[in-house]
């Protein structure tokens, strides 16, 4: 089977891509996408470690991923709602413009 480091490398690559996207893209939604990607990279890591870990019987990895996915979904929902309300307020979603710290 493919060794564990391969998966780890893949997840780190995905993580970096997500981070790059989040950092570079102007659009808030794309940033959110990047974050989603990062979260998924982490989930991949969990499953990889569970799969190649010491005792697979204890399915902590899977549990973690399940809860992580649930939370990520909730987070995505709230994030997008925020972005929509920001859009309504700022008439733009370009993050560079949205930098007022005032309430």
């Amino acid at each position: 089977m493919t060794p564990l480091p391969a998966y780890l490398l893949l997840s780190s690559l995905l993580f970096s891509i997500g981070l790059a996207g989040a950092l570079t893209r102007r659009n808030a939604i794309l940033v959110l996408l990047g974050i989603e990607l990062m979260l998924n990279a982490a989930n991949l890591n969990f499953i990889a470690f569970w799969r190649y870990g010491m005792e697979p019987e204890a399915i902590t990895g899977i549990m973690f991923v399940i809860f992580s996915i649930a939370v990520a979904a909730a987070e995505a929902a709230v994030g997008l709602a925020l972005i929509i309300s920001i859009y309504r307020h700022y008439k733009t979603v370009n993050l560079d413009k949205v930098d007022e710290l005032k309430g």
Binding site: L19, A22, L23, A28, V31, L95, D96, V98, D99, E100
Partner: protein, 698 residues
């Protein structure tokens, strides 16, 4: 306790009160001052006579009566300092002598000072002086003695410097005061040493442990200083220095001749009778310390007495030589006083208290007489003091001449009739029997010779020949006005009284009838005419007569035969043709350059020290202070610089830094979400790196 002993303090207190009264009154009442002074002095004289009478009726034991009255002055730590006064023959004799002579001199000075503007001040000082002198006499504690001793010094300074507008008078007063001060300092050391050893300064104590009494002395005799010297000897020597200062012994005699600057009654009172006698009285009073044997203590050493004797002898000869070459009438008498004081010290040193005191009493009277005579001569010759400008005064002032002649003969020791002969003979006799060495005896004889010589020289200079006064100075017109004239009665009467006493006193102390000695010492010496012809007494009597005769003849030979003509003519002794005699004479004329010697050594040394101190002060301390000043200024500069550059700038830089930091940090909070994310990314990487390296390392 008889009332006289208790009220003995009244005798000095009265003149003191008079002085205070005169000082207090604002406007100078001449009559009031004179009356007060003479009145109080007369009353003191009466009290002195009572005291004298009291001491006369001695108890059966024949022991001299000594009554003491002590009281606590103040408490110092554990022990209390006590003062008090004592009445014993020595005190009584001195009381009578001082009060009588002072009374006479007060009466004399009312006439002498009549024309002086500061009449009241003069009499105030006089009565102050008298009070101090009487205080010295009655003191039973060395401390009270010292206090009055200092007062006497003060009043002598005031009186010598009475005509303070004369620079020479002021200088003389200062000189007198300082020289006596030196002696007093040493005297003070002696007193301290005595107090540390004897733990009391009282002479005599009812309980018997006064410092002059047997118990204390026997204790002190055992003590020796590190140098092996007996403690009593040491104390004695120190006290003798004080006495030497006040009585003008050799090293410290320089002030006495200069003290003649004061008015003549002052010289008479202070520098003839009383103050100078105080030194001799001091030695007489503390005699048991010098010679513990007197107080019945065995084993005491009499080294101090030998020193006193030697100093006395040397002073006698020394002063006599100088007197020979003097030209000022009062200066000659001054040196004669110094010489006679030397004789008294010699008497004390060799003979004991009685011998010294007898010469003191007799000397007081005839020296007072001589000085007052000189005063009236000066008064008569219109303030002329140089004997070379006088001459032939006997024609103009017969009473003064007669009294002066009696005084001269008493002083030079003309046999039988005159007191000087008996007292000086006693001294010579004692010196002759002195076991230690016979040199003082020879010195004494030579001194007597010189005394007779310079007195006759003075007589011929002043009274013999024609009057040389004022002729060459003022030319022809006022010749008559400068004729010497006789002094008024108020001045001549004291002279006559003194003359009588100069003669009468001698008979009290003759070997034939030594009443005075018995009175003073308390033991009964043999009396009667036979004594006179005892071999040793006879030897000294004849020797002194011969000496006096030789002196008189020599004086007449040189000065009497061909009277001195012109004032400016050099003295006979000068003898320009005989180089040695000439040099000797000039040396003597210049007082053996003692003043110059002092000037050269001590004074210059003092001046040098002063300069050194001022130099030190100026360059060393001053610079130090300046340095400190500059240091402080420098420090303040440093402080300012530090404050300005370091703190201010530092603070500003700090604020700037904080501001900058604030701005930097604010840039972090851009508001753009991605910036935050970027920071988080970097932090993540850093943390991971750290963990990796951290883990691998550990």
């Amino acid at each position: 306790m008889p009332w006289i002993v208790q009220n003995l303090w009244l005798i000095p207190a009265l003149p003191l009160a008079a002085a205070a009264a005169i000082a207090v009154t604002k406007r100078p009442h001449r009559r009031f001052a004179a009356a007060m002074t003479i009145g109080t002095m007369a009353f003191s004289f009466l009290l002195a006579l009572c005291a004298f009478a009291h001491t006369l009726n001695r108890g059966a034991t024949g022991e001299i009566t000594r009554q003491v009255f002590n009281f606590d002055w103040f408490q110092m730590g554990g022990d209390t300092v006590q003062l008090g006064w004592v009445l014993d023959p020595l005190t009584a004799v001195m009381l009578v002598m001082v009060s009588f002579v002072s009374l006479l001199i007060f009466i004399y000075s009312t006439g002498y000072m009549a024309h002086d503007g500061n009449f009241t001040r003069f009499f105030c000082f006089l009565s102050l002086f008298a009070a101090a002198m009487l205080g010295v006499v009655i003191a039973n504690s060395l401390l009270l003695f010292f206090i009055c001793w200092e007062l006497v010094g003060l009043s002598s300074y005031l009186l010598i410097g009475f005509w303070y507008h004369k620079p020479s008078a002021a200088a003389a007063a200062k000189k007198a005061f300082i020289t006596t001060r030196i002696g007093d300092v040493v005297f003070f050391l002696g007193m301290l040493w005595l107090y540390s050893q004897a733990h009391t300064l009282l002479f005599y104590d009812n309980a018997g442990n006064g410092c002059l009494e047997n118990s204390t002395l026997s204790r002190m005799v055992g003590l020796t200083t590190t140098g092996g010297m007996m403690v009593t000897t040491g104390i004695g020597l120190l006290i003798f220095c004080g006495a030497a200062g006040k009585s003008g012994q050799v090293p410290l005699h320089v002030w006495l001749p200069d003290a003649m600057e004061g008015p003549t009654p002052v010289s008479a009172l202070i520098h003839a009778a009383t103050m100078v006698a105080a030194g001799v009285f001091l030695i007489a009073r503390v005699y048991p310390i010098l010679d513990p044997g007197v107080a019945g203590v065995t084993g005491g050493s009499t080294a101090a007495l030998t020193v006193v004797a030697w100093v006395g002898a040397v002073t006698a000869v020394f002063a006599a030589c100088i007197a020979v070459a003097q030209t000022d009438i009062k200066r000659i008498l001054a040196y004669s006083t110094v010489s006679q004081l030397g004789f008294m010290m010699l008497g004390l040193g060799v003979g004991g208290v009685a011998v010294g005191m007898f010469h003191l009493i007799t000397h007081a009277f005839f020296k007072a007489l001589l000085f007052l005579g000189a005063g009236s001569v000066i008064h008569g010759c219109h303030e002329e003091q140089d004997i070379r400008k006088m001459g032939g005064v006997r024609k103009y002032m017969p009473v003064t001449f007669a009294a002066y002649a009696v005084g001269m003969m008493a002083l030079s020791g003309v046999p039988i009739f005159f007191s000087g002969f008996w007292s000086k003979d006693e001294i010579l006799h004692a010196a002759h029997r002195w076991p230690v060495s016979s040199v003082p005896f020879y010195l004494g004889v030579f001194g007597a010779l010189l005394t007779a010589f310079y007195m006759t020289r003075q007589m011929f200079y002043v009274f013999a020949g024609t009057n040389r006064g004022g002729s060459e100075a003022h030319g022809e017109h006022a010749g008559h006005a400068h004729e010497p004239h006789e002094s008024p009665a108020v001045m001549t009467i004291p002279l006559v009284i003194l003359a009588v006493f100069a003669v009468v006193l001698g008979f009290f102390g003759t070997p034939a009838w030594p009443w005075f000695q018995n009175y003073l010492t308390g033991e009964h010496a043999a009396s009667g005419l036979g004594e006179l012809f005892r071999p040793d007494i006879l030897f000294t009597l004849s020797l002194s007569t011969a000496v006096v005769a030789a002196g008189l003849w020599l004086g007449w030979r040189l000065y009497g035969r061909d009277p001195i003509q012109p004032a400016g003519e050099p003295d006979v002794l000068e003898r320009p043709d005989h180089p040695v005699m000439h040099d000797v004479f000039t040396w003597l004329k210049h007082k053996l350059y003692v003043d110059e010697l002092y000037e050269a050594t001590i004074i210059r040394f003092n001046a040098w020290c002063a300069r050194a101190c001022s130099g030190l002060d100026q360059y060393c301390w001053n610079s130090l202070v300046m340095l400190a000043g500059y240091l402080v200024v420098g420090l303040s500069w440093v402080n300012r610089a530090f404050d300005e550059f370091v703190i201010n700038l530092g603070f500003d830089a700090g604020c700037g830094g904080v501001g900058l930091g604030g701005r930097l940090l604010s840039r972090l909070q851009t508001g753009r979400v991605q910036d935050y994310l970027r920071v988080i990314g970097v932090a993540l990487a850093a943390l991971a790196l750290f963990l990796m390296w951290g883990c691998s390392a550990s």
